[in-house]
Symmetry: C2
Subunit: 329 residues, 2 copies
């Protein structure tokens, strides 16, 4: 493991756009050592005045939707404009496999070798909430390092979408034209979170099916009211291999950002995300402290069993556990 | 205020179906006095073996959808079969007005005077989570008192639907045929929670619009996969004033219950609801203790302000508050 740098060295390196130092600072954020955590927090806080200048985009979709191919093509659109893009990932499956969807950097080979792009694998071996906190701080570091577009990628299989939504300005849902039930495989509620839907792989034999899927989604979305930001979610088609529709998606995102900056929604949304982050972290800590309490752990299974079998009222069980936790403090 | 009865008097009265004693026991549940709470909890726990035998139905819909008219007609269907029905309410608006959607009992005048029916207004002046806990316990008391069908009514304006969903076997969403956007006014996500949708006021000039709305919803729902219970949400039309479609809805609910009993889903769902209740109550208590801590209250606004204005990292603010709370314990 590398020797730690000083706070000043990290800060100056990041502000100079030094990506080696950026990577080492992110490693600091991901560390479980208390002294690393303190240093990381001080670093991020010192850099706060240099953050906030990027467009934060969340991208999700089921495995097989062609996320990395899409992001590679999307990233090329952006770097072609001479703008810097960072790609981060929140991967719930990495909790189990200790691997990472982004671990194999060859997945986005071209983008990975582009000097305007920075790709960072997801940290493994952490709770989803823990990963989310680290990703939030990593976004800030990338912004301080001068990245203008930040992608947070997630696999569409669980709660990770809600977390990603809570840290980005724009949430893009990638969908695949399928036979029959178009929304299969996507957890209920995710559709409604999207700021845009893109049907991927709209090419070759799949072109007509993609166009049909687009109409289906448009129709379904039409039934929902637009949110407080007064934005009607567009549904688009694209083909990464033919490089069709990618620029249009990027333009849509830019027009969204422009509109939301003007209306004040962008800033308001970010402030609210920060306050949400405060509450979430407090809740996480309170619950972690409680459920990691050794007496609570010891008593939990027995109480759960009594509740499941209808012998104990849940409130009674909760009060007992809370009493145990308090006395063990 | 009435003098309190003994635990045995409450218990025997409820088991005998004495509705005066039932009402007084519910008042006990709603009380904020610690000794009342303890007595109430002991009472509910003693009655646990006599609970669980009802069909628990959640009903929601925006104001104007005709909820009370529907429930009155629905209740008549049930009492006509000589079965006992209780109607409870979770009303988020009562937090503000200290009034109650159910306070005016004349709203369901016929049902209110039917000896087989029991209508209980929502408790006021409590947090939504607090109301939910009390409603959960009230359901159990009503079951012990021999009610076979229990309706939990809610106004479709917030988080109350999720809470109601977490305590019932069947969740019925009432909708109004409108011009244009059929889902207007209904919070995103509620549609997907429904086990059935009923378009109300399908009569007179509104009949054709209701039929059209039904098709719209069917189409929209068709796009969603059926849940783990393998149930495809039906969309029905009804008219309370013409007494059309009400019996069909009741039959649908009964067929759902029969199917879910057979598959084991009903029992499994209730066990999971109980475990959720345990977790929810623990979380509520941890958070309440934290946010009601006097030092936390004193420091909170200042920290929130620093975070909002981008001067402090949310995690930093959270840690400070957690430290204050701990030292003040």
């Amino acid at each position: 493991m590398h020797k730690r740098l000083s706070l000043d060295e990290y800060r100056d390196g990041i502000l100079a756009g030094n990506r080696v130092i950026l990577s080492r600072a992110i490693t600091l954020i991901e560390s479980h050592l208390p002294q690393d955590k303190t240093l990381a927090q001080n670093l991020v806080e010192q850099l706060l005045p240099n953050t906030g200048n990027s467009i934060r985009i969340g991208i999700t979709g089921v495995p097989g939707v062609g996320k990395s191919t899409f992001i590679e093509a999307f990233g090329k659109s952006i770097t072609a404009e001479n703008r810097k893009i960072a790609v981060l990932a929140i991967d719930p499956t990495s909790q189990i496999t200790k691997g990472s969807i982004m671990g194999d950097k060859t997945r986005m080979e071209e983008l990975a070798h582009n000097p305007l792009a920075y790709i960072r694998p997801t940290p493994a071996g952490d709770s989803l909430g823990g990963v989310a906190n680290k990703t939030r701080e990593t976004i800030l570091l990338c912004e301080a390092a001068g990245f203008e577009i930040i992608i947070v990628e997630t696999v569409g299989v669980g709660q990770s979408e809600t977390l990603v939504k809570s840290m980005v300005d724009f949430f893009l849902l990638l969908m695949l034209a399928g036979a029959g039930d178009e929304l299969q495989g996507i957890k209920r509620g995710i559709i409604e979170m999207a700021d845009a839907i893109a049907i991927t792989k709209a090419d070759g034999n799949n072109l007509q099916a993609s166009k049909n899927a687009r109409l289906e989604y448009l129709h379904a979305l039409h039934l929902y009211p637009s949110g407080i930001n007064n934005w009607q979610t567009p549904v688009m088609t694209c083909s990464a291999i033919n490089n069709k529709g990618i620029n249009e998606i990027w333009e849509t995102i830019q027009s969204y950002i422009k509109k939301m900056k003007l209306s004040g929604f962008l800033e308001q949304n970010r402030q609210q995300q920060n306050i949400e982050w405060l509450y979430t972290f407090i809740r996480q800590t309170l619950e972690n402290d409680f459920f990691n309490n050794s007496v609570v752990i010891e008593k939990f299974a027995g109480i759960k069993e009594k509740i499941s079998s209808g012998k104990m009222l849940p409130i009674h069980g909760a009060k007992e556990l809370l009493k145990y936790a308090k006395s063990a403090d």
